[in-house]
């Protein structure tokens, strides 16, 4: 049940609870209790909305920054990650296998703002050895959604 609920709200957190209950052969109260429990357990960590800012005309610049660090004794990478993810500009931080340690995703209003963050906040951190900033030129798909596409039903309206 949990998995089925999650698979629906992962793609549409605004789904009507009553509809969801009917689809899963359950009732509204059960689904609501399950959702509340999962929120309390932090299985559900939030309900953000996927926005195509390009269409709003709001300038946004995002960058994926590869960061190499020295892990701290006894704390591994977690302590370093915490120093980074606490900045509100930082959108996501992943520990990565391969040629560098963290992938940090950040968002700013301008190129300058992002560059300033890297040079004045991120790079000077003690454990940070190097950074490489990759600016995002175009976002094609995010969270499983193709940004540019609007799905049109091209089927014949009635068929046997």
């Amino acid at each position: 049940m949990r998995e089925r609920i999650l698979s629906y709200i992962e793609h549409n957190s605004r789904i009507d609870i009553e509809d969801l209950a009917m689809m899963l052969g359950s009732d509204k109260i059960t689904i609501m209790n399950e959702l509340e429990a999962m929120e309390a357990e932090h299985v559900i960590c939030g309900y953000p909305t996927l926005i195509n800012w390009d269409k709003v005309g709001v300038d946004k610049v995002s960058a994926l920054i590869e960061v190499r660090v020295t892990p701290q004794r006894g704390m591994g990478f977690d302590k370093v990650a915490e120093r980074i993810y606490n900045y509100p500009e930082v959108d996501a931080v992943y520990l990565i296998s391969g040629g560098y340690d963290f992938m940090v995703s950040i968002e700013g209003r301008t190129l300058r703002e992002v560059a300033d963050f890297v040079s004045s906040k991120l790079s000077p951190l003690d454990s940070v050895l190097s950074t490489q900033t990759n600016f995002v030129l175009k976002k094609y798909k995010d969270h499983g959604v193709i940004m540019a596409e609007q799905h049109v039903d091209e089927r014949e309206k009635v068929s046997p």
């Binding site: 089925r4 789904i15 009507d16 689809m23 052969g25 039903d153 009635v158 046997p160």
Partner: protein
């Protein structure tokens, strides 16, 4: 000028669904729940394989029977999913959709006057294909009280000494009915006793929601040698436009079907066949996900109709539900036409699938839940208005 036309084809009425389609075509804003094809896109890896095959220049005919690699993969799949054993070299033919297989099988088996038993309501092609093959269609009117399953007494009373073929259209379009093991057993006994052949159209076999695996009539002892098994990629893998299906059966019948196919068609589309190798080998997970989503929508619609107090048996297959509209005292066609004109929702009258569909309408759930919800809200309004007036 002489009449250029063949009498048999001229006498066949156009599909009842066609008439309804023409009305819907005038109303572009209408929400439709009228389609008989999946709303999902063909899985990308299948489409990608098709593109790759074109890049490689695989644009020639395949053998008449179809790509060997594909037939071998299908034989594996049939064994794995339905415990059916067919020799891919001699007992299988790749066809242009399941439809071609139905047509070729009837043409290969029927002599003039042979009777074909057709449980109705059912898909629209069995009757005309029977007539065109020189056979005589004999409808068996299935009943709602039996959840539109075929009962042995219904079968037995339709059998004559001219009966040659029984068509088994399950899971069923338009009713969504299925035949489970205990339903099939007595049918199998009768078929063997009366020495009848079976044409089983299992195009919806992947869409069964009984919680048990779909069971094929061809898998019963003594049945393989008297059954033509039809399946394809349209419904299971959301590949309607690719036009690819297959027929399996005794070598003797498949050989004659291959002859018809050879002269009429040559071979199934080559690009589709290459893509289908990936579909049959690598897409079990995609098929399962689609089935789960269909099942959720099925439950949703059943619950909505239950709340509206509309009689609707629980269908366990395909992607249709078949609620009863008999309480409103109008024909299925009138109900559908008014629903379309007054609320702009298109559903298909049960009578488009045979006389025994009177009193019911076919609702397809090959639509997103948002779409279904919008349509169901309007149907609810319509039903409430009808009840207020009565």
């Amino acid at each position: 000028m002489r009449n250029p036309l063949n009498q048999k084809i001229s006498d066949i009425k156009p599909s009842g669904i066609r008439k309804f389609f023409d009305i819907v075509a005038e109303m572009p804003e209408a929400i439709s729940l009228g389609v008989g094809e999946p709303d999902f896109d063909t899985p990308w890896k299948v489409r990608d394989e098709a593109i790759y095959s074109l890049e490689r220049g695989r644009t020639f005919y395949t053998s008449n029977s179809g790509l060997k690699e594909l037939r071998v993969a299908i034989a594996d799949y049939l064994k794995r999913r339905y415990d059916l054993s067919y020799n891919p070299m001699s007992e299988m033919l790749m066809t242009v959709g399941g439809s071609e297989g139905i047509d070729a099988a009837l043409r290969a088996m029927l002599d003039p006057g042979d009777e074909v038993l057709i449980p109705q309501p059912c898909y629209v092609s069995y009757e005309p294909c029977t007539i065109l093959a020189g056979g005589v269609p004999v409808p068996i009117n299935l009943k709602e009280e039996n959840e539109f399953r075929l009962k042995p007494e219904e079968l037995e009373s339709a059998i004559t000494d001219k009966t040659k073929v029984l068509i088994m259209p399950f899971p069923n379009n338009p009713t969504g009915a299925v035949m489970e093991e205990e339903d099939l057993k007595p049918i199998v006994d009768l078929v063997i006793k009366h020495d009848i052949f079976v044409l089983t159209d299992e195009i919806y076999s992947e869409l069964s929601y009984t919680g048990k695996p779909h069971i094929s009539i061809a898998s019963f002892p003594g049945m393989k040698e008297r059954t033509i098994y039809i399946n394809g990629f349209s419904k299971s893998h959301a590949m309607t436009g690719w036009r690819l299906g297959y027929a399996c059966g005794p070598e003797k019948i498949i050989a004659q079907m291959t002859k018809i196919h050879q002269f009429a068609i040559m071979c199934a589309p080559t690009t589709s066949q290459y893509a289908a190798v990936v579909a049959i080998r690598e897409c079990d997970e995609d098929v399962k996900n689609m089935r789960e989503e269909y099942n959720d929508r099925r439950r949703y619609l059943l619950e909505r109709f239950k709340k509206m107090n509309i009689k609707c048996f629980e269908p366990y297959g395909a992607f249709y539900i078949f609620p009863s509209i008999a309480e409103f005292g109008m024909s299925s066609e009138e109900f559908c036409t008014r629903l379309l004109r007054e609320k702009e929702v298109a559903v298909v009258p049960g009578t488009a699938f045979g006389d025994s569909g009177e009193g019911n309408v076919r609702i397809s759930y090959a639509y997103s839940i948002e779409n279904l919800k919008k349509a169901m809200d309007r149907i609810e309004e319509f039903v409430n208005e009808l009840r207020e007036k009565n």
